[in-house]
Amino acid sequence: MMLIYLIAVLLTAGILAGILARWSTLAPRWISLAALAVDLILAARIWAGRSLSASTTWYDEVDWSWIPNFGIHFHLAVDGLSFLMLMLTFFLGIVAVLCSWTEIREKIGFFHFNLMWVLAGIVSVFLAMDLFLFYFAWELMLIPMYFLIVIWGHERRVYAGTKFFLFTQCSGLLMLIAILALYFMHHQSTGIYTFEYSELLGTTLSSGAEVAIMFGFFIAFAVKLPVVPFHTWLPDAHTEAPTAGSVILAGLLLKTGGYGLLRFVIPLFPRAAHEFTPVALTLGVIGILYGAVTAFSQTDLKRLVAYTSVSHLGFVLLGIFSWNPLALQGAVITMICHGLSTGALFVLVGGLQERIHTRDLDRMGGLWSVAPCLSASALFFSMASLGLPGLGDFVGEFLVLLGSYRVSVTLTVVATLGILASTFYALRMMQRAFFGPNTNSWKLPDLTPREGVIMTVMIVGLLWLGFHPQPVLNTFAPAMDNLQRQVQMPAAALRRLP
């Protein structure tokens, strides 16, 4: 039942925020914060009350019949992987509310309504264990996100929002076809109509059908992640979205893609995924390099940060398709740390734009002298982004490379160049924006206490993950073992690539 409350609290808070905005501009903000705090407490209670028996990896579960005519269940469940993603969701949700405290001045009620509902959609995606419900949530989280972009975004918001929506809808519909194909093929072999994840695992499929269905899923997640040929919506959407929207896009929506690959693509279609591994790994490496190189040549600060996401999530793809414990652990840590470090960078860029009304790197420079705290935070998070040891991103990327080394030495070596390239874009960003002479004689206030708190918490989080990632790894471990057991494809059996 607790899982229902997690979603219901957010949905109710969204409606309340929308209504109460008529009386007070502060009410929606506090309601949203309160709802997220309640969700954090609920999640903590789920964590405390989890059953530690070996029979199940689910901490908690809800399973109701929903549309019996089609064999559809309302089935939510949480395991270590989902739990980590939930914590990230609630944390970044709080950050999103805080960072829009002064940025959003118009239509505050509707803004927080959308914010709460997109978070509810994301939570449902991480919890859904029925494929129909998963698709339902997958599509539903788009709409509030779309509104966040087209109503509160920057100059080219309608273009960016529409592009985002069309990309995800098109790929989502392909996934729907794939889900239905799997559903009917499962019925053919067993005589049971079901969308239940655990029952669809291990459906016997002809190899041609398995590859085709896997592609339906893969493309949907590849668009979200994003994998390079499908990434073009991302820079536009991230750049044009308001700060809170960028934080949620980069920190959470992209993670749903990684989560989907991890939870659905490989466990449901192990053989097809295995055959596809060389291509997927190559795409991952291309993403790492392409993202880094493109980020280097951006003049729009926000667009630069957006392209770094492409690069970082290339590591996630690399890690997931390497499919050995080290690489998987690395992928999950990278997902979490990328949420924190890139989220923080978007908050900083948003704060900067609020102060100097531009995102153009050419018009910045010398900001360190006027806003030292802000600049120092930026330095910290760019260091995290470039993979400085001691910070979370390093742990994730290092583990991924360690794992992928066992699968393909060549690709791992090339991927390592990506870390090198990230040094260039991160240092260039610092150099152009914060160091040098203050030629435009900018005068701007430094971090406000509110921003200071956000930054401090995120810095502590990244340091914690950098020095002591073991709790996260321990949480993920049972879920990972379970996923790997489903696939029954130990790392040693993976074909070594040239």
Partner: protein, 475 residues
């Protein structure tokens, strides 16, 4: 025809009686209130009688009409949608200076035509129903005789409908020549071979023009945008929902969805379906008139329905029934909003009328957003479950090419729905807020439809159970 036959015909008889009563009522006293009241009472009585005759079915009444559960389901849907149109008309036509009462008479007659269509199993009743419907619609479409666009729409509808009826008659003649009977069953049971085939196939093809015209599928779609735009908004709602529902119900009687169609018919329909999905969605892209967008989107939607019709699985009939309910609820809501925003001078159909509506009329704009998402097939709306059901029945029949076309064209469709959504939420300089009052009737109808739109989108099980009990075709 005995007493039980008459009882089984009650839904039709009541509507026919209502037409007479409304006519006499107008003769006695010209009052919109009276005409609307009589119409709604008649529709309500007919709706109740649908449930009352349920124990008697299935019953064939003469060789022309068959009342069975299938017919009852569609009768219910048709009467309910006609009642919504009647309620929406009340406020809309109250602003009109001319004679308002005859509209209700025409509406009742058109509904009678639809009822005959869904119960008919014979070409004679098919033609009768179709003509009663068409002739009433000519009058309804061109009801505003002082508006050029309405007259243009009326004339266009008149000429094209007559032409397609002529084709239909010729097709019937050919089928009669081939089989010697005008019952639908003759077409289905025929072993297709010999010289008769030469007559029969063209006969079927020509008879389908009549059906295709009413559905507005490509290549018989040319009237759709003009009629939607020119007709008064409630009438356009009737053309879009009630009349099309009746014709789809008839099509499935004529060529049952479960049966494998002859290859030539299958090929023809595939062509029509693909062309409708593509043309409907592509042509809507350049429209800035909401009613025209709805027209083109309806062309595409009936292309989707044909996909389910073509795959010939056990799910198809149920999928089509569900989709028609979804489509009816959604499109009635859409036209309901157009209706309440319209003024006495012109319908609110320009995109500019909707710009920034959310900040002026948040509830209406939210409902309209839900409508657009339902048309686009986004979850938590009834349109999503409808599209899901259609795609599922397609996947069940392994009709992958058709499904892929459906998906790709519906993504194109998304683009013009989003354009309207963007307009609804756009920030506009404060205009004088023209606070149109909704009126009790419209408010009640619109909120009811919205509840259905969301509820069946989130929890469609009750509706699915009704469809399983009446139409069948669920697993």
């Amino acid at each position: 025809m005995n007493a039980s036959d008459t009882r089984a015909l009650l839904p039709l008889i009541l509507i026919a009686g209502t037409a007479v009563v409304v006519m006499l009522g107008i003769a006695a006293k010209r009052s919109q209130k009276l005409a609307a009241g009589l119409t709604l009472t008649g529709l309500a009585a007919s709706f109740v009688s649908v449930f009352a005759v349920a124990p008697l079915v299935p019953r064939q009444v003469t060789s022309l009409l068959l009342i069975d559960r299938y017919a009852l389901f569609y009768l219910g849907l048709i009467i309910a949608s006609a009642a919504v149109v009647a309620v929406l008309s009340y406020r809309y036509f109250a602003k009109y200076d001319g004679q308002r009462e005859e509209l209700y008479l025409l509406l009742v007659l058109a509904t009678l035509g639809c009822e005959v269509l869904v119960t008919s199993i014979h070409f004679a009743s098919f033609l009768l129903g179709l003509e009663v419907l068409s002739i009433s619609l000519y009058g309804m479409v061109a009801y505003f005789t002082d508006r050029g666009q309405a007259l243009e729409a009326g004339i266009k509808y008149l000429t094209l409908a007559s032409a397609s009826a002529a084709f239909l008659l010729f097709g019937m003649a050919l089928i009669y020549g081939a089989t010697g009977t005008l019952a639908f069953s003759s077409v289905q049971n025929l072993s297709l071979q010999g010289p008769n085939l030469v007559l029969l196939l063209p006969g079927i093809a020509l008879s389908l023009t009549g059906i295709g015209f009413k559905l507005g599928v490509v290549p018989f779609h040319l009237w759709t945008p003009d009629v939607y735009q020119g007709a008064p908004a409630p009438v356009a709602a009737f053309v879009a929902t009630t009349s099309k529902t009746a014709v789809v119900a008839l099509l499935l009687r004529y060529l049952p969805a479960e049966a494998q169609q002859p290859p030539a018919v299958f090929f023809l329909f595939s062509l029509v379906a693909v062309a409708s999905m593509c043309a409907g969605n592509l042509l809507a892209l350049r429209q800035s008139n909401v009613k025209r967008v709805l027209a083109y989107s309806s062309i595409a939607h009936f292309g989707y329905i044909l996909v389910a019709f073509l795959v010939a699985t056990t799910m198809a009939a149920g999928a089509i029934a569900f989709y028609l309910v979804a489509y009816t609820v959604t499109v009635l809501t859409a036209f309901g909003i157009v209706t309440v925003l319209s003024t006495s001078k012109a319908d609110a159909d320009d995109l500019e009328d909707y710009r920034g509506l959310f900040w002026r009329r948040p509830v209406l704009a939210s409902v309209f957003t839900a409508v657009l998402f339902s048309l686009a097939g986004i979850p938590a709306t009834v349109g999503f479950i409808g599209k899901f059901y259609i795609v599922a029945s397609g996947a069940n029949g392994s009709a992958w090419p058709l499904i892929i076309v459906l998906v790709l064209t519906s993504v194109i469709g998304l683009f013009y729905y989003l354009r309207i959504v963007v307009a609804l939420f756009a920030t506009v300089p404060e205009r004088q807020s023209s606070m149109v009052r909704l009126g009790w009737g419209s408010a009640f109808v619109l909120s009811g439809l919205t509840v259905l739109l969301i509820c069946f989108g989130v929890y469609p099980t009750p509706l699915l159970n009704v469809i399983r009990a009446t139409i069948g075709g669920l697993n």
